[in-house]
């Protein structure tokens, strides 16, 4: 049985082409401001650093002006666009320390990444819930784990889509076999952050210790070799 070989009439084809163009024009949708900001930052991070003293002097002058402009931009940004400011590990940790908004799926892949959240039930930390958030133009996917049998302890594990984010606070860098991990603290909570497959991962808890979080982060059930430190690369977040 052959396929039908009737060709569309050229008038109809042209009409459809015009109509599609009209529809696309009518709903002209620019990229969000946060995506523009992300792109500008990404390009800026890739610029080569100046080396000569003469160049450095020039840069200092320009940097001073840029710094002043940046300060104004930061203030204006804080006032007008707090919701669009870039995410940091600390801001991400606030989500990890919040509550789940739904049940945990059997398997959950973080949005915008290919990272699957680990199953830590054999380690006494079964998954208890999950949520998705938008933070500065990124998607933050979070899975929550609750200690078994004593369910008073809880851990949130958030993964941020896109390139690694900055830490937001200085912390303590701990080297382990599969890479380096940043230990942070905020509001009495313990936070461990690292970069896996080019994405920032954050474990946070108000009750579990640094050691427990680090142990779970390093374990990364299923595929420990995927943990890779990229601090030294151009994509590395500032500490």
């Amino acid at each position: 049985m052959g396929q039908m070989r009737e060709e569309p009439e050229s008038g109809h084809v042209a009409a459809d082409e015009r109509r599609i163009a009209e529809l696309l024009r009518a709903v002209e949708a620019p990229a969000p401001a946060a995506l523009h900001a992300f792109t500008e930052q990404l390009i800026a991070d890739r610029q080569p650093r100046p080396r000569s003293a003469r160049l450095r002097r020039r840069i200092i002058i320009v940097d001073s002006m840029a710094l002043a402009a940046a300060a104004v931009a930061v203030v204006l940004g804080l006032i007008f666009a707090a919701g669009n400011s870039p995410p940091t590990a600390i801001r991400t940790a606030r989500i990890a320390l919040s509550s789940a908004r739904g049940p945990a799926p059997r398997t959950l892949v973080a949005a915008g990444t290919s990272i699957t959240f680990p199953d830590w039930s054999a380690r006494g930390w079964p998954a208890s819930g999950a949520r998705n958030d938008r933070l500065g133009g990124r998607t933050v996917t979070t899975e929550y784990y609750r200690a078994y049998p004593a369910d008073s302890e809880a851990i949130g594990y958030s993964i941020v889509s896109g390139a690694p984010v900055s830490w937001g606070e200085s912390g303590r860098l701990v080297a382990r076999r599969h890479g380096d991990y940043m230990l942070l603290a905020s509001g009495g909570a313990h936070i461990v952050a690292w970069v896996q497959d080019g994405h920032t991962c954050v474990l946070a808890s108000k009750t579990a210790s640094d050691a427990t979080l680090l142990q779970l982060a390093v374990a990364q059930d299923g595929n420990p070799s995927t943990v890779s430190n990229t601090w030294g690369s151009a994509a590395a977040p500032p500490v």
């Binding site: 396929q3 039908m4 070989r5 009737e6 060709e7 569309p8 009439e9 109809h12 084809v13 459809d16 082409e17 109509r19 599609i20 163009a21 529809l23 696309l24 009518a26 709903v27 949708a29 620019p30 990229a31 969000p32 401001a33 946060a34 995506l35 523009h36 992300f38 792109t39 500008e40 990404l42 390009i43 890739r46 908004r101 739904g102 049940p103 799926p105 059997r106 398997t107 959950l108 892949v109 949005a111 915008g112 290919s114 699957t116 999950a130 949520r131 998705n132 938008r134 133009g137 990124r138 998607t139 996917t141 889509s161 896109g162 390139a163 080019g198 994509a235």
Partner: protein, 176 residues
């Protein structure tokens, strides 16, 4: 000597790539993630442009990023739930609810097209590639692109405006 992609051109193509990603995925949030991932990949190591112009190259990386994200998702058969699947209307368009609805309806309709049709329509009508460039991008013949485009446009117009009674509109056109 072939030129390398200049990172400074990325902002110039951002809006178009975002719309392309939205049409591919049907989700504004996924579109943002796709474009971010595309740019990270493009800048991760110096790439040389081979004949294609920069827009065709960026579209190629976007398509590959999209397809690999879909493959990754499809390899995970045990996902029984997705968190908050409801797509919220674009906040920037919230003061123009009709506009936001129409945009979501249009891009959603494109995202529901079969993959071959969708890619052809995105490459030509949204990114603005020529039929020849789209054919190279999608590794097929120009005649096939023409056919896929006709069928994709017909389906979208019918989906938005409703089916018409034009002669032969229901006929299956030849698809290579």
């Amino acid at each position: 000597m072939s030129p390398r992609l200049d990172p400074q051109v990325l902002p110039r193509h951002l809006d178009r790539l975002y719309r392309a990603a939205w049409a591919l995925s049907g989700s504004t949030h996924e579109a943002e993630d796709l474009v971010q991932e595309t740019f990270v990949r493009v800048l991760a190591r110096p790439r040389t442009l081979r004949g294609d112009d920069e827009l065709a190259y960026l579209m190629r990386v976007l398509r590959n990023t999209f397809l690999s994200s879909r493959r990754t998702a499809s390899r995970r058969p045990h996902v029984t739930a997705q968190v908050e699947e409801l797509e919220l209307a674009d906040e920037r368009l919230s003061d123009r609810p009709e506009h936001a609805f129409e945009a979501q309806e249009l891009y959603g309709a494109i995202a529901e097209l079969p993959e071959d049709f969708r890619l052809a329509l995105v490459a030509v009508d949204i990114i603005g590639l020529s039929y020849a460039e789209a054919a190279r991008l999608l590794d097929t013949r120009e005649a096939t692109i023409t056919t896929r485009l006709h069928r994709a446009r017909r389906r979208i117009v019918a989906s938005i405006d409703g089916p018409d009674d034009r002669e032969g509109s229901a006929a299956e056109w030849r698809l290579d």
